[in-house]
């Protein structure tokens, strides 16, 4: 019978090679860290240039109704973050909370439904052929086209906004999940099975797990769409939220507040996307640096 332990002695000679490999690994990691720092610095520089150009243009134009300065916008942001606009309304931070709550509820429901639907379509041919045309019909429609009927059906409360978000998120997530599961190599499944995994264990720990990074990329795409939909819905039919604030301030040509609202949207969008990117790094180690 084979003696497992003596194999190590056979490979003792490999120690020198391993030391080289180890050096190679730490070099590789250092290079990736450097590339990452560089990328961040270049990105930061370009944002600074953009803000400087805006400030110069605003000062040159000299008309705060056409373009407020960066300083006026930042001032408006901090002032109205805690003070209400218009006078009887809640402050900006409350609008942020309202919009975020709508986004998160609609997005989470949409993602759960989309992933479940995509997985069901992957696992079952009848479900796939039944759902596929419906998804293909809904997918190219702009969710905003549904705002008027949604108002008629559900009024201007929270429900029509959640439904609007779910409408936008589900097709993207369904297609992303179905495609991601289809991309998992057949041999990876076989590999797990020859290692002793049951079918169920393989589906959860190998196929869905392997599809996870692509599913998270689908979440990033649908998050951007959801954010667009919700702000538009708030501008058209709402009495709260960031979209409502922008629309109100715009009616009174109060551009520094409009821009403060736009910047708020940008910052929240960046934060939500950064969270999803963080999730992607957790799910896919090859993207880490």
């Amino acid at each position: 019978m084979a003696d497992w332990n003596t194999l190590q002695i056979v490979f003792a000679e490999r120690a020198a090679v391993t030391a080289d490999d180890q050096q190679e690994l730490s070099d590789y990691r250092r290079d990736r860290r450097r590339a990452r720092t560089q990328r961040l610095l270049i990105g930061l520089g370009s944002v600074v240039v953009l803000l400087a150009a805006w400030e110069i243009a605003a000062v040159a134009l000299g008309d705060p109704v056409i373009l407020p300065t960066v300083t006026a916008t930042v001032h408006a942001f901090f002032h109205y973050f805690t003070h209400p606009y218009p006078a009887q309304a809640p402050p900006l931070w409350w609008d942020v909370v309202v919009s975020l709550r709508r986004i998160l509820i609609g997005f989470v429901i949409g993602v759960v439904l989309g992933v479940a639907l995509g997985a069901a379509m992957f696992a079952n041919r009848v479900i796939r052929h039944a759902i596929d045309p419906i998804i293909e019909i809904i997918r190219p429609l702009p969710p905003l086209a549904f705002i008027p009927p949604l108002i008629v059906w559900f009024g201007i409360g929270e429900l029509p906004k959640e439904v609007l978000l779910v409408f936008g998120v589900v097709p993207v997530m369904t297609i992303a999940t179905l495609a991601a599961l289809g991309e998992v190599p057949e041999d990876l499944r076989l590999c797990a099975r020859t290692l002793g995994a049951t079918r169920r264990y393989t589906l959860l720990h190998v196929q869905l797990r392997s599809a996870l990074p692509a599913i998270i990329i689908g979440m990033r795409i649908s998050m951007a769409g959801a954010w667009t939909s919700i702000v538009a819905a708030e501008m058209l039919a709402a009495t709260s939220g960031i979209g409502y604030l922008i629309s109100e301030a715009g009616d009174y040509l109060n551009m520094s507040i409009v821009f403060a609202g736009i910047i708020t949207i940008a910052v929240i969008g960046l934060i939500l996307d950064a969270l999803l990117r963080g999730l992607l790094l957790i799910a896919d180690p090859s993207r880490r640096s």
């Binding site: 019978m1 084979a2 003696d3 497992w4 332990n5 003596t6 194999l7 190590q8 056979v10 490979f11 490999r14 090679v17 391993t18 490999d21 180890q22 190679e24 690994l25 590789y28 990691r29 190599p185 041999d187 990876l188 076989l190 590999c191 797990a192 099975r193 020859t194 290692l195 002793g196 995994a197 049951t198 264990y201 720990h205 190998v206 797990r209 392997s210 996870l212 799910a283 896919d284 180690p285 090859s286």
Partner: protein, 270 residues
């Protein structure tokens, strides 16, 4: 025979005897029938390495997948240690052309995948420290001792293949099925993997069925070479490799080695 250390898996330690009896497989796609394999018979002895050699479409991968239990036969049957094959089993490990490591797991967790999946399926009840120690030992064995925490994308091509090897060995298979495992490697790394495989075999006497389309690789590694091909595809000849074992990659230029190669090349042309 030495006593097994406590808590160590003992299953699959004895190399398997494989018996392939009149195996045939026909694929049906869009009303068209393609015979992928017909009447293949082969016996592989315990601890033997048999190479399945032939061009693309000769049925060698189909046969390997049937032995793995990934494909069902239309005719004939395959038994491993007298047991009929009817699905994948951790007793029959498989290695592919791509290492197919799980990219979201570290090298060590890749090695632990099999033991943990088997524990989840209720096949054993060894606890984490035992499995952990075993994984460390296997990684040291394949020369990846310091790389347990590295992710697959951080490893070189050869290291990935050794990691895949470690993962397959962790379930202590009595039979290893290798499907052109080094086909995508550069010539030098490939040569190193050959030396690696030869050394693993010196110590760990598992039975191996090795699929390749490279005559030199077949002669270097195989105890016997089964030449496949023809219409319908099947096993044409089985040739003994009459060279002293274990061989080294330096032997490939010797006259006797070349003579065996020539003989097999001729049987491929028939």
């Amino acid at each position: 025979m030495t006593a097994e250390p406590a808590g160590r898996p003992t299953q699959g330690q004895e190399p398997a005897h494989v018996s392939i009896r009149g195996v045939g497989k026909t694929f049906r796609r869009g009303g068209r029938r393609t015979v992928a394999l017909a009447g293949a018979s082969l016996d592989v002895g315990a601890g033997e390495l048999v190479c399945l050699l032939g061009p693309s479409g000769c049925g060698k991968s189909t046969l390997l997948r049937i032995v793995a239990g990934a494909l069902a036969t239309d005719e004939g049957e395959v038994t491993v240690n007298g047991q009929r094959v009817d699905g994948p089993s951790p007793d029959r490990g498989m290695l592919f052309q791509s290492p197919l490591l799980f990219p979201w797991l570290t090298t060590k967790k890749n090695v632990l995948f099999g033991p943990l999946a088997q524990r989840a399926a209720g096949l054993h009840e060894r606890d984490d420290p035992v499995l952990d120690a075993d994984a460390d030992e296997i990684l040291a064995t394949v020369g990846l001792g310091g790389f347990g925490d590295a992710f697959p994308h951080e490893l070189s091509g050869g290291m990935r293949h050794r990691a895949a090897f470690a993962r397959a060995l962790a379930t202590r298979p009595s039979l290893l099925l290798m499907d052109e495992p080094f086909g995508a490697l550069d010539a030098i790394t490939r040569s190193r993997m050959h030396e690696f495989l030869i050394k693993v075999r010196e110590q760990y006497q598992t039975t191996i069925i090795f699929v390749t389309h490279d005559i030199e690789e077949a002669v270097l590694l195989g105890d016997r070479v089964a030449v496949m091909g023809g219409r319908p595809p099947g096993i044409r000849h089985v040739t003994d490799v009459p060279l002293a074992a274990p061989r080294s990659t330096l032997d490939v230029d010797t006259e006797s080695f070349t003579a065996v190669k020539r003989k097999i090349r001729a049987s491929l042309e028939e």
